[in-house]
């Protein structure tokens, strides 16, 4: 019974959803203080690399099932709004890779 249930669920996933790879980039909003980026920029300068600007960001690659590319994007938006980004300091960018 148990195995049959698993197989059934597996079949449903296979037939209704499509797999997408979504790339989510979370970065600080324009004008937000980025102390880590400043420290990294100084360290690069110590190594002889002159830089004009350095900004840091966090990237997530998420594989998920969705009905369409639009639905995948919508799910990713929900993830950003509810957990991955904090709207006080962050902006986010979503790319559906495939």
């Amino acid at each position: 019974m148990y195995t049959a249930g698993l197989q059934k669920r597996f079949l449903i996933e296979e037939t209704t959803g499509m797999k997408f790879l979504v790339k989510i980039t979370i970065s600080l909003k324009e004008g937000m203080l980025d102390p880590e980026a400043t420290a990294i920029r100084h360290a690069l300068a110590n190594l002889g690399f002159a830089t004009e600007e350095l900004r840091s960001a966090k990237v997530f690659f998420i594989r998920l099932d969705a009905e369409s590319e639009g639905a995948a994007r919508e799910l990713a938006t929900g993830m950003c709004e509810r957990l991955l980004a904090n709207p006080v300091i962050h902006s986010y960018e979503i790319e559906v890779l495939r």
Binding site: L33, P35, E36, T38, L83, N86
Partner: protein
């Protein structure tokens, strides 16, 4: 009267807070593992300091989205008290119980030292043991404690008495050197709009006995206890 201290994986000031409430003040206090939820109603819930979930993603972000926080939001909605200290403050901000965010310090290092705080509003359930403008000495210990909030939210906090503590000099002045982490307007203690939830980065439980170098932090716990006693 009964208090609760919530323990997340990575909380490390839970026993200190529990000790202050139960041993110094003799008030009943439960230590609650977050997965067990709230087994009963409490007069006050304290979310202690530490590094819940290893500060993954953002300090407090993951703990703020656990089911026990839904129960704590409901506890706050009906007017009961919530205090978040350090990581607890970060969790309250991430859960939306107080506005803004406590994020990485201006100088991105862990700071652990004594600071001076000016009491900005002594007419709250958390600060009534103090007087307005009083300077108290309490330690901080954090890397993500710089308070940031949108301009309009800051304005609302400032004009409605919702700033409870600011970093200051021993004399109570707001000089730049007295703001250890670069917090907006030196803010390190904020209240929700109802005034029954407070988030603060400094650790009053580490300054509740003279033997530790200061008992200035005791006033926060005694304020809460008196508030609950008065409400009955």
């Amino acid at each position: 009267m009964r208090f609760a201290v919530i323990q997340f994986g990575g909380s490390n000031c839970d026993h200190d807070v529990h000790y202050v409430i139960s041993e110094i003040f003799g008030v009943d206090c439960d230590l609650l593992w977050y997965k067990d939820g709230l087994p009963r109603n409490y007069d006050a819930i304290i979310i202690p300091g530490g590094f819940s979930y290893g500060d993954y993603l953002r300090a407090g972000a993951i703990a703020a989205r656990t089911p026990v926080m839904t129960e704590i939001i409901e506890h706050a909605r009906v007017g009961r008290l919530v205090l978040g200290i350090c990581n607890g403050a970060q969790i309250l901000a991430e859960s939306g119980l107080v506005p803004g965010i406590f994020t990485i310090n201006r100088y991105p290092k862990f700071i652990c030292r004594w600071v001076n705080l000016r009491v900005e509003n002594a007419d709250t359930p958390f600060t009534r043991a103090y007087s307005e403008g009083e300077v108290i000495r309490i330690p901080i210990a954090h890397k993500e404690g710089r308070y940031v909030a949108p301009e309009d939210a800051l304005k609302t906090l400032e004009t409605t008495g919702r700033v409870s503590f600011r970093f200051c000099t021993p004399g109570g002045d707001l000089l730049p050197d007295a703001n250890p982490n670069g917090s907006a307007n030196h803010i390190t203690g904020v209240l929700n709009s109802q005034g029954n939830v407070m988030a603060m980065m400094p650790h009053p439980e580490r300054a509740s006995e003279e033997v530790l170098g200061s008992s200035d932090g005791k006033g926060i716990f005694s304020s809460i206890i008196h508030h609950v006693e008065e409400k009955g």
